[in-house]
């Protein structure tokens, strides 16, 4: 992982800033909300108390049937078209099987209308006045008025009008009920009306299905009507832009007032923009868990808030408003009378201020921290870039110094910097200096040693020459010959040891001339044929002469070294290829040979001094020793010609290639010649 990447990751830690800000905003917002909640609950409770004080009657207690106010006249025809406004508010007449029958009640000025919808697939039809009616499908209507009760079996043998007699007939109650009966495959509907003059106090329905003959005895229920008085009282009490609704503990709406108007001063709903909206949706909206069912107008307030209040526990909730970017806070508080919950007040307030406030703060914070983050990241990254640039510069300089065989070419970059990198550069410098001294010592060791060895060698040789002149036995002559042979070999070694030194001197005094490199390579190749033995020499030259400015003797010498090297690694019957080609800014001279591949560890160091890849066993007893100077000479020659020497395995992996890229020696200006 690069330093820059690491610093980038470190820079990411500045992300903790916006996160902290976000936490702060959330906390602030939650405090604000709490305040709003408390205020709303307080006013809800105040309203409840005020309602009690105003003497608004509590809704009827006990089981009830809600009665809807019919705004349009209802035609009693057994069809539900007139009832579509309350289609969702049909009430089951009782628990269990009884729930198959559902009822809705509505009234206008004169009449109380009743619609019964019964799901029943098996039908046994008789008329209401038939004696068998008690054992056939029917809905038993029970009315109570003034303590007297009467029952009406609602049944019909065929769709159409039915006529149900009272049992027993009472003065206060209608003696018969006439209505309409309609049915389809799975259900039947009963629709009838009662004059408001003979309205019962309580009523009950029970379903009798001939297929499952179980008679239920449901409790009588009171009728629950919308309370206009209570609504007026609420309208007086409820604060502006709040909606107050009063309901029974079961949730039946008794009175309502007000509406969820947005705050007037927040006139620009689009101000927050998509960014604010995104933040609102992504971060604030999840906290909105209120029941959407409380939106709109319905006869029954379903929802956890009302249910909780019905048990005596006030509950507050937030829910998204109907307009975008709006939230609604709902508070449900119980209305109590004598320890019992007699109703629920639901007070709602829509507000845009809170999310907008949060959004604005959040947006500003986000922008500010984005800028801060960008600045911090930019500073860190550019610091990292600078740091890694410096480190790379140092590394490159160190690599270059090491790559050039430890030759130290001058002060390292950063060496005068005061920080740790400067320390590092100075230590590198020291290290390279030592390496340089060491390699310098190694490089000159051979030639120094050869000088030192020359004198004792001369003593040995001249002594042997003298000994040769003495009268000696045959045995002694043999030893003399061996000693001479050894001395000769020693002489060869000593000469080889000083070779690089001599080459360096030759290079230092080399004079450049113009010559045809192709002719030189061709001539050398001719000379090598005699030395190659069973190895084939291949020569590939470009067409025409290759003019070159350099030291031909030295190039020939380098070529000799390469050929020598190639020959010693090429097996009998192998091949050696000499190839010359023009390059963009010079020439490429390649000596390739079949044979073993290069050891991977040494590929880069082959051209260094004192590096030899030969194994000892590869050396014949008579061969000159390999001190690793040959390829070093090649490199020196390449350097002289502003080129470089590389060695690599052939792409076919059947041998190796030593490649010399040569540019040519710089041409001296006339002024330098004289």
């Amino acid at each position: 992982m690069s330093l820059r990447l690491k610093l980038l990751i470190v820079a990411l830690s500045t992300l903790v800033l916006p996160w902290m800000g976000w936490q702060l905003v959330r906390q602030t917002e939650s405090l604000l909300r709490q305040g709003q909640e408390q205020a709303l609950q307080a006013s809800a409770e105040a309203i409840v108390k005020a309602i009690d004080a105003l003497g608004v009657a509590a809704p009827v207690e006990g089981p009830v049937f809600p009665v809807f106010a019919a705004s349009a006249p209802i035609l009693v025809d057994g069809y539900t078209d007139d009832w579509s406004a309350w289609a969702a508010d049909l009430q089951p007449i009782g628990p269990g099987e009884q729930a198959r029958a559902r009822v809705a009640l509505a009234e206008d000025r004169a009449w109380l209308y009743v619609l019964l919808d019964v799901r029943d697939g098996t039908r046994s039809r008789v008329d209401a006045r038939d004696r068998r009616v008690w054992t056939s499908d029917h809905v038993l209507l029970e009315l109570e008025r003034g303590g007297e009760r009467s029952r009406y079996p609602l049944a019909s043998a065929a769709p159409g009008e039915f006529d149900a007699p009272a049992d027993p007939p009472l003065r206060e109650l209608p003696e018969r009920i006439v209505g309409q009966w309609q049915e389809d495959g799975s259900s039947y509907r009963i629709e009838f009306r009662l004059p408001r003059a003979v309205l019962p106090d309580r009523l009950a329905f029970s379903l009798y299905d001939a297929a499952e003959p179980v008679r239920a005895d449901p409790p009588l229920r009171r009728l629950l009507r919308y309370d206009e008085d209570a609504a007026r009282a609420l309208a007086r009490l409820a604060p502006e832009r709040m909606r107050a609704r009063l309901a029974t503990p079961e949730g039946w709406l008794v009175a309502d007032s007000g509406g969820l108007g947005a705050e007037a001063d927040e006139a620009e709903p689009d101000e927050e923009g998509w960014f604010g909206g995104l933040i609102y949706r992504g971060m604030i909206a999840p906290a909105l868990t209120g029941t959407r069912a409380l939106d709109g107008v319905s006869a029954r307030l379903a929802g956890a808030e009302v249910a909780a209040a019905a048990t005596g526990r006030p509950l507050l909730s937030w829910r998204p408003g109907e307009r975008p970017g709006e939230v609604v806070l709902a508070a449900a508080v119980p209305r109590r009378a004598g320890g019992r919950v007699t109703g629920v007040l639901l007070l709602e307030q829509a507000s845009r201020a809170l999310p907008l406030l949060a959004n604005r703060a959040l947006t500003e914070l986000a922008v500010a921290s984005a800028i801060a983050l960008a600045v911090a990241a930019g500073v860190l990254v550019s610091f990292g870039a600078l740091l890694s640039f410096r480190i790379r510069r140092l590394r490159n300089a160190a690599e270059q110094a090491v790559g050039s065989g430890g030759r130290w070419t001058g002060p390292l970059p950063l060496a005068d910097a005061g920080d740790e990198l400067g320390d590092l550069a100075r230590s590198f410098g020291k290290l390279l200096h030592e390496v340089d001294a060491y390699t310098g010592y190694l490089r000159t060791l051979a030639s120094k040693l050869s000088h030192e060895l020359n004198t004792p060698l001369a003593i040995v040789k001249s002594s042997l020459d003298n000994l040769d002149q003495q009268p000696l036995g045959d045995g002694a002559r043999a030893y003399l010959a061996r000693a001479r042979d050894g001395a000769e070999r020693l002489g060869t070694i000593v000469r080889a040891m000083s070779e690089s030194h001599r080459i360096e001197r030759a290079i230092a005094s080399a004079d450049a001339e113009d010559f045809d490199l192709a002719a030189l390579v061709a001539g050398c190749a001719e000379g090598y044929r005699a030395l190659a033995g069973t190895r084939a020499i291949r020569l590939r030259l470009p067409d025409g002469p290759v003019p070159f400015h350099g030291a031909p003797e030295l190039i020939a010498q380098a070529l000799d070294k390469l050929f020598d090297n190639a020959r010693s690694f090429t097996p009998e019957g192998g091949w050696i290829e000499l190839r010359l080609a023009r390059e963009r800014d010079g020439v490429v001279l390649t000596v390739a040979n079949s044979g073993p591949l290069l050891p991977a560890a040494l590929q880069d160091r082959l051209f260094d001094t004192l590096v030899s890849v030969r194994e000892r066993s590869a050396r014949g007893s008579g061969e000159a020793p390999h001190l690793g100077l040959g390829l070093y000479v090649v490199r020196l020659v390449a350097d002289l010609h502003r080129g470089r020497a590389v060695a690599h395995d052939r792409a076919e992996r059947d041998g190796v290639e030593f490649v010399l890229h040569l540019v040519g020696m710089p041409r001296r200006r006339l002024a330098d010649v004289h």
Binding site: Q469, A556, L559
Partner: protein, 229 residues
């Protein structure tokens, strides 16, 4: 009367070896260990040939000093440098001082003896009148093999013995390529290829000093050298 040879060499073992070996051939040889010692002796009597080691005891270039003072006293005295230092620098310095040849210390005794006798022969020849029939002439080149003298366009080329032998080998058969091995054999030296190359280079320079247009010695890469006839 035997010819006298002086050997100035600080290494006693080598000195003793050379003194004995040359004495065996029939020369009268004296060995000296240092420059002052040698100069004192030469003031008494000049030898006919001097072999000098460049580094003498605590004088690293004492041999050069000695050579210079000898050359002042006798311009014709044959002087051979013998040293462990075989680098080109030493060669050039030695020759500028007027040495007749220059050999590495590991030269075989046989090679040294060949040079000594050649130098003596040359001295003898110089004393005799010129025998024109012993000279080889090729264009501007004239070789007097007895006197070991080579001239180019009428001017003497100051070659050492080794160099003379090389030019002689090349020029005797113009157009023939002589390999480095052949040159070494004929010049009675055992050196490496690079030294042959620098010998040839020096020979060229000496000719060029006389005639800037000189290019009679041709390099045949990979094979050797040839005299362009």
């Amino acid at each position: 009367m035997p010819r006298t040879i002086a050997i100035v060499e600080d290494e006693p073992l080598i000195r003793a070896n050379y003194v004995e070996a040359l004495g065996r051939i029939g020369y009268e040889v004296r060995g000296y260990a240092s420059r002052p010692e040698a100069e004192t002796a030469f003031a008494q009597r000049m030898p006919e040939l001097v072999i000098i080691d460049i580094g003498l005891g605590d004088e690293p270039e004492g041999g050069f000093e000695l050579c210079r003072s000898l050359r002042v006293r006798s311009p014709t005295l044959p002087i051979i440098f013998l040293t462990a230092r075989d680098s080109d620098f030493d060669v050039i310095s030695g020759l500028r001082l007027g040495a007749d040849d220059y050999l590495a210390k590991d030269v075989s005794f046989h090679q040294l003896a060949a040079r000594i006798s050649a130098l003596f022969r040359r001295m003898d020849a110089l004393r005799r009148p010129v025998e024109s029939d012993s000279a080889i002439e090729q264009g501007p080149l004239r070789i007097e093999s007895e006197r070991m003298r080579i001239s180019w366009a009428g001017q003497d080329v100051p070659l050492t013995v080794t160099e003379f032998w090389m030019v002689y080998t090349l020029a005797r058969f113009p157009g023939h390529v002589k390999s480095r091995d052949q040159l070494m054999r004929d010049a009675q030296v055992v050196v490496d290829d690079a030294t042959i190359t620098s010998h040839i280079k020096r020979i060229r320079k000496k000719f060029v000093a006389i005639d800037p247009a000189f290019d009679a010695i041709d390099t045949v890469h990979g094979a050797g050298y040839r005299w362009r006839g």
